[in-house]
């Protein structure tokens, strides 16, 4: 308990030092376009909330990230089921995926604009690409980590092939699948902002790019702050859901396993 309080105190101190350093730097630089002081965040926040742009852009980004993420999750999980069930399919698709995986999501943006034009569609595509790989790779690894002893125990209690898949393979893979979803959502959130910088007419990425052009730096910073907060909130809530859904994993995690 004491060490937790200490950690919280140090964490707050870190944020305080950042703000202090920022304030000093802004004062020395004395250029509100290059670096406005932290207090300008509050001004920017009030402006963007009052004129409704913040809510509108946040909603646009969330809609895109959820659509792209859902698309990726559905595709990745379906592909895992197929590759696990049919060995030749696995041998067929794995080299293709290994080739596509190193391409960063942002490198897909130009071709996505060519294919889908400006609007929501390129963002869906880029977000889905970003989320796909972590989900696919983690759930595939999850299928591999089933404990031989659990299979044996189930078989000697009368479980057949279908029962093994439903009651042993599936729950064994579930925590890894969830880890994949968690990482995938984080990747998708970063990718959507990237895509919106160039390929959209709304969203938080678009908002910070537009305000850069209009030299409203305090609004750029508000956009960045909201991106950070929403991303952190997504990760935190999924970690919380993870502990709720897979209570037996907490013990492993505390021992340092993934």
């Amino acid at each position: 308990m004491r060490s937790r309080g200490r950690a919280a105190l140090l964490g707050l101190t870190g944020i305080g030092l950042l703000l202090a350093g920022w304030t000093i730097a802004a004062r020395k630089l004395d250029n509100s376009i290059l670096l406005p002081p932290p207090t300008a965040l509050l001004t920017g926040l009030r402006e963007t909330v009052l004129d409704g742009t913040l809510v509108r852009d946040l909603a646009a980004s969330l809609k895109r990230v959820l659509s792209g993420f859902s698309l990726a999750a559905a595709t990745a999980i379906a592909l895992v089921v197929v590759t696990v069930s049919f060995r030749p399919v696995r041998q067929l698709v794995m080299p293709v995926l290994a080739l596509l995986r190193p391409i960063p999501p942002i490198a897909w943006v130009p071709i996505a604009i060519l294919w889908f034009g400006l609007g929501d569609s390129p963002s869906y595509f880029v977000t889905a690409v970003a989320a796909f790989f972590p989900i696919f790779i983690n759930s595939l690894a999850g299928v591999g980590i089933v404990e031989e002893q659990h299979l044996r125990a189930a078989r000697c209690l009368g479980a057949g092939r279908l029962a093994l898949i439903r009651f042993i393979y599936f729950p064994s893979a579930l925590p890894n699948l969830f880890t994949g979803l968690k990482i995938g959502l984080g990747q998708a959130w970063m990718a959507v902002v990237t895509a919106e910088l160039v390929a959209a007419q709304s969203g938080l990425g678009y908002m910070i790019e537009l305000n850069r052009l209009q030299l409203e730096t305090q609004r750029v910073l508000v956009g960045m702050l909201v991106i950070a907060l929403v991303g952190a909130l997504m990760t935190l809530s999924l970690s919380w859901a993870e502990n709720l859904l897979f209570p037996w994993r907490q013990k492993y995690r505390r021992k340092g396993a993934p």
């Binding site: 044996r152 125990a153 078989r155 000697c156 209690l157 579930l174 013990k251």
Partner: protein
């Protein structure tokens, strides 16, 4: 009020006597059993030419130094592994796959971590399409004294409790044979003795066949009707010993002269077998 509860619980206990396995079921016959593995490009011999007949209701301990193939013997009876030569029969039928008439209690970590204790115990019953799996499982969890822990997950239970749930899970399918692979080997000495006593109390009511693998002499003598000793290099059956201790056995059993006599005989035999690995290692280094 208290009296009413007492009356109720004693009525439950009356209902709680486990169903006996069908009389005469649970015979195991091994004939000329040999098991070889291919491991890292080399043939490893786990068992050579083992003949053994176990009668229905018999409690047999398989004893031997590590590496003697005692777990392999159990795995072959369970149907996890196939014999390279020879045959394994249960009540006359050749064993080809695992089945709920001979469930296994493993050494540790075999409970399904995503299921509560109750769901673990109910698993085999659900596989069999049992109509009241939950009620039945509750009863068996009660038999091992864990009724109050029905909604706990395995990681919330101690090692001993986990093994009791594992035992209840195997008993719940009402098998004619119970296969136990060093089930108490990972427990502390005190817990192990309590578990042995609990196992005997349950078995004395039930009288199913038990094959119990252990490397612990004391455990083998305390529990079994007959002890089968497996040797090392070659991994053959070294001998079988009847345990002439009266039942029911309690704490006093270990103090008797019969216990001490058998202990000394087995200790010397196992010691000779274990020494072979030391001798063999010595030969290798000399070469």
């Amino acid at each position: 009020m208290a009296h009413e509860q007492l009356a109720h619980s004693s009525r439950q206990d009356a209902d709680a006597s486990p169903r006996q396995p069908l009389p005469g079921r649970g015979a195991i016959t091994l004939e000329g059993l040999s098991v070889r593995f291919r491991e890292g490009g080399r043939d490893t011999v786990a068992l050579t030419n083992v003949d053994l007949a176990i009668s229905p209701g018999e409690f047999v301990a398989i004893l031997g130094p590590s590496g003697c193939g005692k777990s392999t013997l159990l795995n072959v009876i369970a149907g996890f592994e196939r014999p390279s030569l020879g045959s394994v029969r249960v009540d006359g039928d050749a064993v080809t796959a695992p089945g709920p008439e001979r469930p296994v209690v493993f050494q540790q970590h075999s409970l399904f971590p995503w299921m509560t204790a109750l769901d673990n115990v109910a698993f085999g019953l659900r596989m069999a399409g049992h109509v009241s799996a939950r009620a039945h499982a509750t009863h068996y969890l009660g038999l091992v004294g864990l009724a109050d822990y029905h909604d706990r997950y395995p990681h919330e239970l101690s090692g001993g409790m986990q093994q009791r749930v594992g035992l209840a899970r195997a008993l719940a399918v009402e098998p004619s044979i119970l296969l136990m692979d060093e089930p108490f080997g990972a427990l502390d000495a005190q817990t192990r003795v309590l578990m042995q006593e609990q196992l005997l109390r349950l078995w004395e009511q039930w009288r199913h066949t038990v094959v119990f693998v252990t490397h612990d002499l004391d455990e083998a003598i305390f529990l079994a009707d007959r002890i089968v000793v497996l040797g090392l290099l070659p991994n053959i059956l070294r001998g079988t010993f009847d345990v002439a201790l009266p039942r029911p056995r309690g704490r006093g059993a270990r103090a008797s002269a019969a216990y001490q006599g058998l202990y000394d005989v087995l200790f010397d035999l196992i010691r000779q077998e274990s020494l072979k690995t030391f001798a063999a290692t010595g030969t290798v280094t000399e070469l």
